[in-house]
Symmetry: C2
Subunit: 334 residues, 2 copies
Amino acid sequence: MVKKIINNPKNFVDEMISGLLRAYPNKLRTVNEDPREVVRVDAPIDGKVAIATGGGSGHLPVFKGYVGEGLCDGVAIGDVFQSPSAEQMANVTKEIAGGEGVLYLYGNYGGDVMNFDMAAEMVEMDGIEVETVLVKDDVASAPKGEEENRRGIAGLFYGYKIAGAAADKGYDLKQTAKTTRKALDNIRSMGVALSPCRLPEAKKPTFEIEEDEMEIGMGIHGEPGIKREKLKSADEVTKRMLEKILEDGPYKSGDEVSVLINSLGATPKEELYIVYRKVWEILNDRDIEIYNKYIGEYATSLEMKGMSITLFKLNEEFKKLLKAPACSPFFVQE
Amino acid sequence: MVKKIINNPKNFVDEMISGLLRAYPNKLRTVNEDPREVVRVDAPIDGKVAIATGGGSGHLPVFKGYVGEGLCDGVAIGDVFQSPSAEQMANVTKEIAGGEGVLYLYGNYGGDVMNFDMAAEMVEMDGIEVETVLVKDDVASAPKGEEENRRGIAGLFYGYKIAGAAADKGYDLKQTAKTTRKALDNIRSMGVALSPCRLPEAKKPTFEIEEDEMEIGMGIHGEPGIKREKLKSADEVTKRMLEKILEDGPYKSGDEVSVLINSLGATPKEELYIVYRKVWEILNDRDIEIYNKYIGEYATSLEMKGMSITLFKLNEEFKKLLKAPACSPFFVQE
């Protein structure tokens, strides 16, 4: 059993959103009083491409935590690990559209893709142009050559950061989509899970794992990874994951990268820094320079123990977009 | 067993610090190449009261996470849940002293008090004036009337914020100490634990707790709380803790407060917002206004599941100090 500080499990998502709206009334508001449709309080921003995202709950700060300046304009919120409806996505889209079109930016999961595609058709009738960019950063979720089938995990954060900054800088819809796609082509992630999470309404955890085991490559909903094996040292796990990322992606000596060390929920910050230490060493040995880093909770899976590593190969444009101002209740770019 | 992403447990603290220093070379540096003595990279700041803190590891962002602008100037870092040495504290003190004296600000734990007091005597010989302020915000750790015996928990965060801002604004040592003490008189916290943590070198968790139990008032090292009982709903737990805080402290109708909802390490952010929702309701019912709030990990206990609630009754001076700029690798005041 995984213990939780909750009330009736059926109200988990709505009560959480209620807390969020009470905490940030000057930053977030609902659409049509539906707590599952949340937008920036100042939406729509005229003359700017709007960024919409969405997906299941249980991944804070993904997705709703990235609604804010320099990030997303609105989010459709599903039940835990469930897609929101096409109608909710369409409502959010209409609310944030500022005349320059809307970018749909979210993780590559079947239900979300279906519903966002339907929403795009729905809002087309209102004359709102939509471009879609899917985040597919998890190298463990499908082999090289089958990138189209990969899942989106912590790389979502970089997607929001780049798209949001591009939109703020006045890129048009096509340019914003193109730039974000290009950024994502340079982004790879991989995760490891040590313990499962439990859905609020479930009696059992999302998966079983032995007391001395870990699963490398496991997804943020407990999707199977590459290999289940005996728990290894932080250095070994880090090395294995980072090497897989380095093999798969465009990273080479002389490159500059941004590094994201992400907790899946229950991992102490202390352990994330032990991982970062090893990532730094390996990249240093390969003459890959760390331009900046993010260490903490960026895409979680309720109380899952584990972490993911993400690399983002930068160019001058991406560096500017990465350092551009951004501010949501869960993320501030210093 | 609680699984960890670590290497040799003996190296847990030093590897974590090594990661931290590699992540923030422009913000933090060591003293005498001792990784357990960490200061702001620009220390000492001439003409400003310096703030020193310290204590055991395993509580990130407490203590080392609050070294930065508008917060602490230096920290002495112990092993997990162990005090650093008096000599380390003295070295940090000498490194950060900017001619206006040094404030020792830390949690009320025996080993830390003994070592900081010894350090104060050691640096006195170098002509450095020291004032000490102990954080004792945990209402569950001793009854009313015995406040001197209370432990320091998440209220540490507010202590750093107020003291750091006061020092930045040019308060002298006596004023900084007096203002911080007055702030702490208006601060009360209480925690609840649902699951234990495990020390890196230990085979067993810090305590045992049944699958359907919680312990209200448990400390951040697993110190006994007020009562162990069956796990209750988030609303009931929140109500119980907040009422105890409200009874104990100076909070009354018409007051303005700052609220801190703190995860002890493994609690999903979603649950913290469910708690905040209820805190908002109760305070609203009592006509106590929430001036601002902090929701996240501010003082943890490795991977302990649970949370604490802290209230800080504000006046105009405290509001200014709370909103003053602050920036460390783990905390940015927006």
